[in-house]
């Protein structure tokens, strides 16, 4: 029993050591900070004023409609850092070093995904402030609003673990970036992220309805109160019950990709 608590204690302490290491990098690489703060600001402004001027949302200001969508898209993209960073560590021989140390076997991956979660928190705060400046408002209680942010971050955290697996498998940061772009771009666009899905062609609409990103966005809209009675929501169960649907995805993704990533990590060595 005490041996177990001790080893759990070490796992936490090792993960914190790795998290700290990853966050120091954020501090020292200006590119990362720019990516994490300036680009979300730019996206909010571009979508708000470019798309916003052409997309009428019945009964709702476009800024209100847009922000939950762009939160979701940005945190999902933010999670790709996990894969690229692990591939980079692998290439530079750091994973070999970590694996030769008497540290907890999961700490490198936990430290990585937690640090990337932290980066996503920073990104979301910056975007929320920008959103508030361009007309986005939260109409719900503090608790609901916090729940909205938690849903977004939980989903991003789960995607981080998927990306951890991809990064350890692909092993080249550039390839991880390109590959994830090809997958994540459609994933976040064939959804209710930027436009209502009512007029999508049938096949696309079914995909969009069951796309977990749509449910994340829908959950956030509901929890922030960024909805309007006149705004039609699909009858699909996933969008009628977005919070449980998202949580189901989070649980499944973590249940599959945490063990898979840790197993891959334990067998990975620099070639």
């Amino acid at each position: 029993m005490s041996a177990m608590t001790t080893s759990l204690g070490w796992a936490v302490s090792d993960s914190l050591t790795i998290t700290r290491r990853n966050l120091i990098k954020v501090k020292r690489v200006p590119d990362l900070i720019v990516f994490a703060t300036l680009s979300p600001i730019m996206f909010v402004l571009l979508f708000r004023y470019v798309f916003g001027s052409a997309i009428p949302i019945e009964g709702l200001d476009y800024a209100e409609f847009l922000l939950p969508g762009i939160f979701a898209q940005t945190v999902v993209f933010g999670s790709t850092i996990t894969g690229a960073s692990l591939a980079d560590d692998l290439q530079k021989g750091l994973i070999d070093r970590f694996r030769s140390l008497p540290m907890a076997r999961s700490a490198v991956l936990i430290g990585r995904t937690v640090a990337d979660l932290g980066l996503n928190v920073v990104t979301i705060v910056v975007m929320a402030l920008t959103g508030l400046a361009v007309g986005w408002r939260i109409h719900s209680s503090v608790g609901e609003a916090l729940a909205g942010f938690v849903v977004l971050l939980l989903f991003a955290f789960a995607i981080s673990w998927v990306m951890a697996y991809v990064g350890l498998l692909v092993r080249t940061p550039e390839v991880v970036n390109n590959a994830s772009f090809i997958v994540i771009f459609p994933l976040t666009f064939i959804a209710n992220t930027f436009v209502p899905t009512n007029n999508f062609p049938t096949v696309l609409k079914v995909i969009a309805d069951w796309n977990p990103v749509s449910a994340v966005v829908q959950a956030a809209r509901q929890l922030f109160g960024n909805t309007a009675p006149s705004l039609e929501t699909s009858d699909a169960w996933s969008l009628q019950h977005p919070v449980p649907y998202v949580l189901l995805w989070v649980v499944v993704l973590l249940a599959v990709f945490v063990p898979l990533s840790v197993r891959t990590y334990l067998r990975t060595a620099t070639r």
Binding site: K92, L94, M103
Partner: protein, 341 residues
């Protein structure tokens, strides 16, 4: 008693990667407090041995123990007793030297204060104190290697693995690194060192194991290996490439084996016996060919000859003919003789 027990014991180690057999039954032992040089050409399996011993890879067959612990069944305990410096300088380039060492210290579970003081000690020892507060990104190649070795030493490991610690370093940094490594040995650390540089093994290692194609092809001290090759080497430099061929023809019957010609340096090397008499005979024959002899001499075989004889190819083919390296090798006994043996 030091020197009586083995810090590393490897028996019948086999490792396959798909259809390719990287290790084909390797046996070796390293006595506590000594340095074993693991030599072999690129792709011989040196790094695979190190990866198995440092618990990064599991062998397909055979057994390996480090400080009496099985590297597969007791991998966790093995990790607490070893330090690994891989072929890449595995330092985080965004962390400072101090932060890198403290991180590794924490991961060895040294505790905050201990990690900090060990980090400071090692930075001092490896002459990195001035750079301690700079991100490792700004370090030179030699500094990164030093930081990497410092990181692997932070928890005072009983066994240290150095996988090609000086590959890619300029000659001056390499000499510096050798001094640091020689220092570690005097502390009593057991070291397994892989290298392609025979000069490096000659200088640092107590004993050597030569592997090729995943098998041990020779083992012993540098002197044992040289004796195993036997005889002497007659070496001469002539004025032109065309004279090189003529000289080789004239001397062929004196040689124990096919003469080795290096056209770039116009140097001819022949394994011979008979000492001065053979030299005199060689000079007489050369005179009759009319070749311009710029330099001629007899020497004992060096590790390059050992390698060539054992494996049929030079340790590092690109390097074999480079005049500056050969010159450096020739000077080694004079400059380094006192350092090791």
């Amino acid at each position: 008693m030091r020197g009586m027990t083995n810090a590393i014991v490897v028996q019948g180690l086999v490792k396959r990667f798909g259809a390719q057999t990287a290790l084909d039954g390797v046996d070796l032992t390293v006595a506590e407090g000594t340095v074993l040089g693991l030599l072999g050409p690129n792709g011989a399996g040196k790094t695979t041995v190190v990866r198995i011993l440092s618990t990064l890879l599991e062998p397909d067959a055979g057994r390996a123990e480090v400080v009496g612990l099985d590297v597969v069944r007791q991998a966790g305990e093995v990790r607490a007793s070893i330090g690994l410096t891989g072929q890449y300088a595995a330092v985080d380039e965004y962390l400072t030297g101090q932060e890198n060492l403290e991180m590794v210290g924490r991961l060895y579970r040294l505790g905050k204060r201990e990690s900090r003081s060990r980090a400071a000690q090692l930075l001092e020892r490896f002459e990195l104190t001035d750079a301690a507060r700079r991100p490792a990104k700004t370090y030179s190649g030699g500094m990164r290697r030093r930081l990497d070795i410092a990181a692997s030493l932070i928890a005072r490991p009983r066994v240290l693995f150095l996988d090609e610690p000086t590959t890619g370093l300029d000659p001056r940094s390499r000499l510096g690194m050798w001094e640091f490594i020689a220092d570690l040995v005097s502390d009593g650390t057991t070291i397994l060192l892989t290298t392609q540089y025979l000069e490096e093994a000659d200088r640092l290692a107590d004993r050597m194991v030569v592997i090729d194609h995943g098998r041990v092809i020779a083992r012993g001290t540098a002197d044992d290996l040289k004796a195993q090759v036997g005889g002497e080497r007659l070496e001469l430099t002539v004025g032109s490439v065309e004279e090189l061929a003529r000289a080789a023809d004239a001397l062929r019957s004196l040689a124990l084996d096919e003469p080795r010609c290096d056209e770039q340096t116009r140097r001819l090397t022949l394994p011979v016996t008979g000492g001065a008499a053979t030299l005199a005979e060689a000079l007489r024959r050369l005179e009759s060919t009319g070749a311009t002899v710029l330099d001629v001499g007899l020497r004992r075989p060096d590790l390059d000859d050992v390698f060539l004889t054992l494996t049929g190819h030079a340790a590092d083919d690109e390097r074999a003919g480079a005049p500056s390296d050969d010159d450096a090798a020739d000077r080694t006994p004079a400059t380094a003789g006192g350092a090791l043996r």
